[in-house]
């Protein structure tokens, strides 16, 4: 039986006496349900020795780890060189070892990628996952292009130097001469109303492409107190 083989290889404490193995096999599903290896199961009337309890704990551990009927799992992805143990029935020459290590590196990276790309966890098989990744990259690039179009439409000539707002070095951000920086450059096309109390939609300006932005979008009205701009940066900081 395969379970006997796995039990033999993982725990080599007791010799193979059939009543022991039979007990262990019976116990395994119960212990895997409970998944606790500290409290021994007292339902079995035959078990009395402490060595058997040790063995049970070992088996619980192995079943809790969900080991397949394989003697040793490979491990050590984080080590400087990969410890690759040979599984049952696999070649152990250097070429296939290196090949296997390389394949496992690739699989680890693929798992990372699967986590990055949304909706990729359920897909199995390298080809489908790669397809998803390619689609995701393409969609992201299209989004960048689309958003840059929108930004170009919305952001015609605003010369705000928001760098000073975001610089972590400067202590108080708003006191850097903000009104001076918002220099009223070509005023004829300016969206900014220096006394803008009521934000009137100025989208009648020529450069505004009305196909992009609907007219009910309020413009960037700037009142001289600078309060709206602080609100602006507050929003930006909040969204960040």
């Amino acid at each position: 039986m395969e379970t006997d083989n796995s039990l033999e290889t993982t725990s080599s404490i007791l010799p193979n006496s059939s009543p022991n193995n039979f007990n262990l096999v019976k116990e395994e599903p119960i212990d895997s349900d409970s998944l606790h290896n500290s409290s021994p199961n007292l339902s079995d009337p035959i078990i009395s020795k402490s060595t058997k309890r040790k063995e049970r704990e070992k088996n619980v551990k192995s079943s809790a780890k969900k080991s397949k009927n394989v003697a040793n799992e490979t491990d050590g992805e984080e080590l400087p060189y990969v410890h690759v143990r040979a599984r049952r029935g696999q070649a152990t020459d250097s070429h296939s070892l290196a090949e296997r290590a390389r394949r496992e590196k690739i699989n680890a990276r693929m798992k990372l990628l699967q986590e990055l790309v949304p909706g990729c966890n359920k897909i199995s098989g390298t080809a489908m996952v790669l397809d998803e990744i390619i689609n995701h990259v393409q969609s992201l690039q299209h989004q960048v292009e689309f958003l840059s179009m929108r930004l170009a439409a919305v952001h015609p000539n605003i010369d705000i130097n928001l760098d000073n707002i975001f610089s972590a070095e400067s202590g108080s951000l708003m006191e850097c001469s903000f009104p001076a920086m918002v220099s009223p450059q070509p005023l004829s096309h300016q969206l900014w109303q220096p006394d803008g109390l009521t934000p009137q939609p100025l989208w009648g300006v020529e450069e505004m492409n009305p196909n992009f932005i609907t007219p009910e979008n309020s413009l960037l009205s700037y009142d001289s107190s600078g309060n709206s701009v602080s609100l602006y940066t507050n929003q930006l900081k909040m969204e960040l």
């Binding site: 690739i106 960048v144 602080s230 609100l231």
Partner: protein, 171 residues
Amino acid sequence: MSPPQQPSSTNPNSLKIRLTHRFLHNLNNLNKKRSNLDNTQIHRRSHRVKLAAYASMARVVGSRRAWSRAILWKIRNRKVFTRNKRVDHKTTHHHHLARSIKRRTTNHSNHKREYVDPNGNSGQEVKLRKLVPGVETMDACGLLDETADYIKCLATQVEVMRNLVDLYSTI
């Protein structure tokens, strides 16, 4: 008047902050350099914004990654190329520039068209190499690494741009 802003130094999204910083910086430079007034067509301006986006993404990451190095190299070459081309006035369309830049990059790297991975994913790897800049000559392992980093940065950049668009259009 306005309450002093406390700079949050322990922000977990430092990449986003850096990207915003750099992207706005590039946008402002863009607006300052060219005479980017209202008579410029929107698609030309949007192309420049897109370049600014990629440039800012690459600058933030620096030279650590192959894709960022490739982008920075492309942009640097593009600048040189436009400077040379403006003297001649032969072409004004940037498609021509893109084509010649592609020629330059293929001379630079070993452009293997038929790359077959031992796993057997030949067509998709080629596609991925075309999408991610700078991974032409990398092995499969490095390719996946670069793709992961590229996806992460692209996603952050998209988020930053979306926030900016929302902000600009609602104030």
